[in-house]
Symmetry: D2
Subunit: 337 residues, 4 copies
Amino acid sequence: MKRVRLGVLGMGRQGQIHSKNIAYRIPEAELVCVSDITMERAELVGIDGVARYDDYRKLLSEQQLDGVVIATSTDTHEEVIRAAADAGVHIFCEKPIATTLAAIDEVLAYAEKKGVKFMVGFNRRFDPTFSGVKKLVDDGIVGKPMIINITSRDPQPPHLEYLKVCGGIFFDTTVHDFDMARFLSGEEIYEVYAAGSVLVDERIGELGDLDTTMVTLKFESGAVGSINNSRRTGYSYDQRVEVFGTQSCAFGNNETPTRVEYTNPQGHHSDVPLYFNIERYPEAFYGEIQAFVDCLYHDTPPPVTGSDGRKAVVLSMAAKKSWQENRPVRISEIGPV
Amino acid sequence: MKRVRLGVLGMGRQGQIHSKNIAYRIPEAELVCVSDITMERAELVGIDGVARYDDYRKLLSEQQLDGVVIATSTDTHEEVIRAAADAGVHIFCEKPIATTLAAIDEVLAYAEKKGVKFMVGFNRRFDPTFSGVKKLVDDGIVGKPMIINITSRDPQPPHLEYLKVCGGIFFDTTVHDFDMARFLSGEEIYEVYAAGSVLVDERIGELGDLDTTMVTLKFESGAVGSINNSRRTGYSYDQRVEVFGTQSCAFGNNETPTRVEYTNPQGHHSDVPLYFNIERYPEAFYGEIQAFVDCLYHDTPPPVTGSDGRKAVVLSMAAKKSWQENRPVRISEIGPV
Amino acid sequence: MKRVRLGVLGMGRQGQIHSKNIAYRIPEAELVCVSDITMERAELVGIDGVARYDDYRKLLSEQQLDGVVIATSTDTHEEVIRAAADAGVHIFCEKPIATTLAAIDEVLAYAEKKGVKFMVGFNRRFDPTFSGVKKLVDDGIVGKPMIINITSRDPQPPHLEYLKVCGGIFFDTTVHDFDMARFLSGEEIYEVYAAGSVLVDERIGELGDLDTTMVTLKFESGAVGSINNSRRTGYSYDQRVEVFGTQSCAFGNNETPTRVEYTNPQGHHSDVPLYFNIERYPEAFYGEIQAFVDCLYHDTPPPVTGSDGRKAVVLSMAAKKSWQENRPVRISEIGPV
Amino acid sequence: MKRVRLGVLGMGRQGQIHSKNIAYRIPEAELVCVSDITMERAELVGIDGVARYDDYRKLLSEQQLDGVVIATSTDTHEEVIRAAADAGVHIFCEKPIATTLAAIDEVLAYAEKKGVKFMVGFNRRFDPTFSGVKKLVDDGIVGKPMIINITSRDPQPPHLEYLKVCGGIFFDTTVHDFDMARFLSGEEIYEVYAAGSVLVDERIGELGDLDTTMVTLKFESGAVGSINNSRRTGYSYDQRVEVFGTQSCAFGNNETPTRVEYTNPQGHHSDVPLYFNIERYPEAFYGEIQAFVDCLYHDTPPPVTGSDGRKAVVLSMAAKKSWQENRPVRISEIGPV
């Protein structure tokens, strides 16, 4: 079969990772071209034989592509998605799809109308540990989920500049965990209750944001869940999940750089978890692009859809409202789901 | 110094455990006498040289005791506490102190008026693992607590007859975890939000009770927490705590019967946790009585007070109300704290 | 059935442990009497209603016992065993049975002639972790053992005075591991090769002894094994076994005081193993006496025989000879086995 | 600085891995060309812009290289090394350097005479876990090593055809562990004693080989060690090291594919270790080539020398002799070291 011809739009950190994975690790795909807003940044791809553009529109018109990976800044997603859909190429889009629910609904409808596939980059679904937990659920080892606990904490807060534009902790951090909760349980959340505080950095509070949160989840089956987030552990990325079901309790624990341990009079010591998402999720970044390629190569539906991307945003909106009004919020309050 | 003379009232399972610990493991104490409502049950003490009574009042009047351990049925606590206070003996009382907040307030005031010490049996504070986590907090290793997660699940639900009279899962199970949350954090909870379902046994739902719960905790410092409970794991007692603080994240994990492990083609396997409270908490049962003896022997205040017992009940009340009304409930709503 | 009447001879640390276990934890047995060479030491039993003697011969003649636990100093074992056998009481004897192979052979023959049961105190066989590994072997989970590795290291060396009389590391330390190797494998060792050094304390070398050793084991089935010993870890007692078989690899790992763990920027930390044999083997000390009582109560053969005690000594002799002559030594060289 | 120009000779599994690492993961190097004995196999490199040869001599004469990676069959190493040395290119050579000690000595002398660097492919030194243990030794965390235990077991035996030509278990398997023992301890072994059996497959015994071995190591400092090998675990690659020193005991444990765990009534379960060397050592394969590139790029000595390769072979010879004659063998018996 013919290799899938791909372009990567946006040569930030994530775009570079995707480019390397396409070029070096996915035999069914070919990295044809990349773009960024300047040619200097487009050159960051650093791979021979790949066309560079400083205008994604030119890229779309000149190259015959099967699909694009959209890794441009979030505020450009809407126009880039439309342009790609117009060009008839399939779309892999980093989350969030867009900054408002209305915009998300519009671009998803537009892509659907144009008949292009649309996949959202919830990479953690492709992490070997988390997908391994999901497999235990799917294989019936866990039984019916009853309690789901998700821990998701960053080593250090991002820069204040980023914090100002990221939409707040529920949209920037918890959004991943909402998707994970839906993914692991295989069902929908109908109500959330969010609590939170500013314990890490007062300036985060001054932005009207939180840095320490606890969200209660209610699933349609009656299962309950919790998501706890922090902007700062001090040690490293703390990313764990637990699915307690009728047959067993499954855990997805932290990965460590090595399996070195030692015992001395002060205790038994082992590694801290991997530092941050770049260190923890290389296989997940690879896996999501492989999955996108697979769905183009075999013409199958994408494993993470625009609807999944939309639902995680709706849950984040409900969490924010819950915290603002200090009451449980039904997801249906936010809008049709 | 003279050994502390103790009597144990109630020869149920807990009373027998306390009797053995006093007689065999606490050199500073002497098990002088026991009572139960029949002489047959009083004989269950099974230790030579210990006087048996089928009437605790007779025991209190005939024996010169320093303290009593009250392990009678909860509905008798009120009158037994009063009688012991009248006899001027110090009191160790199993939780709950009494069945209503009013009754608790009255007997605590009565004991105080009579000048007897009053200690409540929150045994888990004396578990080596949980007290070890507390020590990490106290020693500053954890830093300021920011997130506290408590998992507390039983291997199997109790008999239906017990479920009918136990007051519901918040009073019977979560009450211990509320105390643990206060113990570990060293601070007070000002608001709770409780969610729950019936996923284990429909008959529990028919009693108006829950078997699967998730309670959000808000601490005065801004720290947040969660308690998740289940009436049935199928495997064993699942009792874990996590305190995430500004300096580290501390864990109190499950104990196992052995340290046997093996690897075969199906996986790497180790023990399930210890089966239930009798297996998991022998050192905690011993430790709490040792602590009671210590506070009589050295005339120091009890480490777990009547007020601690009361507060855990108030938190359980708030959790129940929260679940019934599906809203966060301030502890101050329940009454003065 | 009638309770088993027992006396404990020798009120050193081990005799006191046995006395408490008999008196408090074994309902089928009764601690009737104890002896030591002075009445002051006999009083160390500290349990009401137990007769004290400063002469074990008087104890044997005055009391009607079913069995005795011999915990006197090793140099007295020979005469005490004979006296107990003459009195027709069954014998539990701390290891080593005696200080020479000839003496061991004689007293074992004597006890057999007198028709009394003889059990040797290889307590580690009754440790829940090691007996759990043995169970995996017996249940076929491990398959046929192919490689057995035993780690056995003390936290600190004993006093020099003790080192002078203990017979050397092979007789004092490795002897337990030889028994463990026989116990776990269920088969005999036919050849050993011993290497060793003085790395902990030069004074140990001046005594002609070693403090760091590695012994290769050859089992009759073709399985191979290793025992490594050290007189000093600095941290705590390091007692681990590994049985690698055709079906799986089984591990008996160290026990820790708690299950507390914490993660901070310096690493993930947990407890050091329990400090020494008193901390690590309380259940094993209890279990071996329970087993002795069981074999009297139910009139069954002892689970650890005089022959087991003898074989471990023969293996220690072979190890010493191997090290002295720097060559593999057949067990049959030492004498008939 | 100019990128290091490299050629890879031999496009078997290992040659392909090296080619990919050079081409995709090492920015300081350039994969210029590859060769194999047929053009079809040379094409397996599968990377655009890399020259293919079916004759390594032609490759050496036509291309201006800085270094070559020799991954051809062992019986060709001798001539390939000489040709590369003649061409004045630095050499990375897979182990074993050659099949006889004489040949090893000759080619090492030849390479030295020609002034080219020579590095041997003991990849495990570059495994993050084992190099992490080494770092604990180098940093003084372990203290002076006293006992070193190495476990090294394959999931399944290789094909019989391979077993016939591999030189036996000591040369094919233990050779890696001898290097690891030297690497971790930082010192030389002066004597070995080897025991072994045929427990996995009788046909291995018919070849005069062993499939289950235990080798005792004596280090110059007095430290002792053991290496245990098996041709078959049934589960996966079992690769662990332990360095017990005066300050702590360090462990390099197995890696697993994920960090998934689950508890059910049958036990607590986690992953088996990674299956075999391809799965376990990708970072080590990468690391060793990175190290080779570094020593060309910065003109520094190679971290694993021809002398290291030679010493591991001498130790394997001593082990074989020890087993054949059932006696400890001094390394100096084999020849000058």
